[in-house]
Amino acid sequence: MKHPFAFLDEGSKREIRRAAFKAVCIPGYQVPFASREMPIARGWGTGGLQLTLALIGPQDTLKVIDQGTDESVNAVNIRRLVHATTGVQTTHHTADATLIQSRHRVPDRPLSAKQILVLQVPIPEPLRRVEPREHVTRKRHAEADYTAAYLALFERVLKYGSASAGADHPVMVAGRHVMAPSPIPRLDNEKLHRAEHLTLLGAGREKKIYAVPPHTEVHSLAFDDVPFEVESFGDQACSTCGTTGVFLDEFDDGDGGTLYRCNDTSECLARLNAQGAPL
């Protein structure tokens, strides 16, 4: 069966690009779009994939990340699908990519103005946990009434003693819209603040596209007496490349201890290569 370039028909791509343009114009605002049926199931990255397919051109180089790795089955399948329908080059190297589709991570290496990051989003509505009704959350955004977002954090403080628990910590974008940054670790929230690159976020199941344009103010929500905190691994370093201050995965070392390793595997490898370590 013959597909058009990048699988989607031109009409669909144009609609998605329009939604993306609007999203860039109103940073943090969730633009509705007509999410297409894709060859992968909704909830598996169809929002990100549709953005990738609508944006990609023959000159692009694509990188796909799933929770920090290029090698997991989700990343491999999406990369293969895009390659099979476009023939574009793919890469594992963050610096070489022009377009990066990612599930729940912003790469450790700072991105440049020539790169676009596409994030997959399961639940785009930051107020959803407290307010289930869509017509109500839309009104809350329109009136910039973000009580519900703070209430969710307040409850978290009551329960866990800290507002910073888990991923997908809500952010205020450009001083106007509260946005779900997708379930990226809190360390990655700070990479969106005044970034060089454009970040586009796509939720296929929920049919929303939103964006953080370059150089946009992005602040994680917090209280006066309970500040926002990023993940801390103490003084632990990656056991493979020795880096600190990045998001680490925890492994069981087999002796009841914990082994830490970079979550961003391609960057870990790049650091090892730079150190000239023998493979």
Partner: protein, 283 residues
């Protein structure tokens, strides 16, 4: 009663009309609906008809009437929950909007009024409370909405309010879903007064509670009203509740106020036949 006589009213509403349906020449021009509050010609229901309400500082105003008499519709409009078909509504805040018709206020202004100036307690706690969040969180919500961003201070104040309404300390972090009906009502009251609103609106707050719990909730309302000198408007079909709390009472029927006056006068010497029937049947 401890009304400051020289102060203008805290609340003042004129000509409130709540209409469900288009209305027609007959019911809109003078003749009025002919079957209770329903127009015989066009079927339009006139839930509230040309009602005036005034309430002063420190005063408790009761509104009684049978089911469908329009008392809850009237309270909903006074709580700015529902816009009336017509009417004028002034709220004294000693601010720049005191002479503005609050029915015409923007959504944001109405949200602020409902959060900071008018506390509302409903018959069913689940319409107000977030049953799965903690009681403390429920009270903090109104403070968050008023712009507070200090967790320690909000917790302290929420704990003080919950103490005030006699919720045990070890239940403050529990969800209202796990509370009894009377406790839920008390949490609702604590939440309604969290931002120190000058006005408290109560819609059938003790209906459905057993008698001893009713008495405790009414005591609590009376104490809070006296301590804070709040303006309270109380809707109930239960004349005993009105007798206990209200200084003045309006009697409503078919969407209209048919009689108003001091509560004692209304209960001891009802003038209108309907009020006489009501007092006879319920006491």
């Amino acid at each position: 009663m401890n009304v400051a006589p020289d102060m203008p009213p805290r609340l003042e509403a004129h000509g409130i009309h709540v209409r469900h349906g288009p209305g027609c020449d007959r019911c809109l021009t003078g003749a009025g609906p002919e079957q209770g509050n329903r127009c015989a010609a066009c079927g339009t229901v006139h839930a509230v008809r040309q009602v005036d309400v005034q309430a002063f500082d420190g005063e408790v105003l009761g509104i009684v009437g049978e089911s469908g008499s329009g008392k809850s519709s009237l309270l909903r409009t006074l709580a700015l929950e529902q816009a009336p078909s017509a009417g004028m509504y002034l709220i004294r805040e000693d601010g720049p909007d005191d002479h503005q018709n609050r029915f015409d206020a923007s959504d944001q202004a109405i949200r602020r009024l409902r959060n900071e100036t008018i506390g509302l307690v409903r018959q069913h706690a689940h319409e107000t409370l977030r049953m799965r969040l903690s009681a403390t969180g429920n009270i903090a919500e109104t403070m968050l909405a008023a712009g507070h961003r200090h967790v320690g201070r909000m917790r302290e104040r929420a704990a003080g309010l919950l103490d005030d309404v006699s919720i045990a300390r070890d239940r403050h972090l529990d969800a209202p879903a796990t509370f009894s009906g009377g406790m839920q009502q008390r949490v609702q009251i604590a939440r309604a007064i969290a931002n120190n609103p000058p006005v408290l609106l109560l819609d059938e707050v003790t209906t459905g509670l057993d008698l001893s719990v009713q008495a405790r909730v009414l005591d609590l309302i009376q104490r809070i009203q006296r301590e804070r000198q709040m303006t309270v408007i109380l809707v109930s079909h239960d004349l005993a509740v009105v007798r206990m709390l209200a200084d003045r009472t309006l009697v409503m029927r078919h969407g209209q106020v048919i009689e108003h006056g001091l509560t004692d006068r209304i209960l001891e010497d009802p003038h209108m036949p309907y009020t006489q029937e009501l007092v006879q049947s319920l006491l």
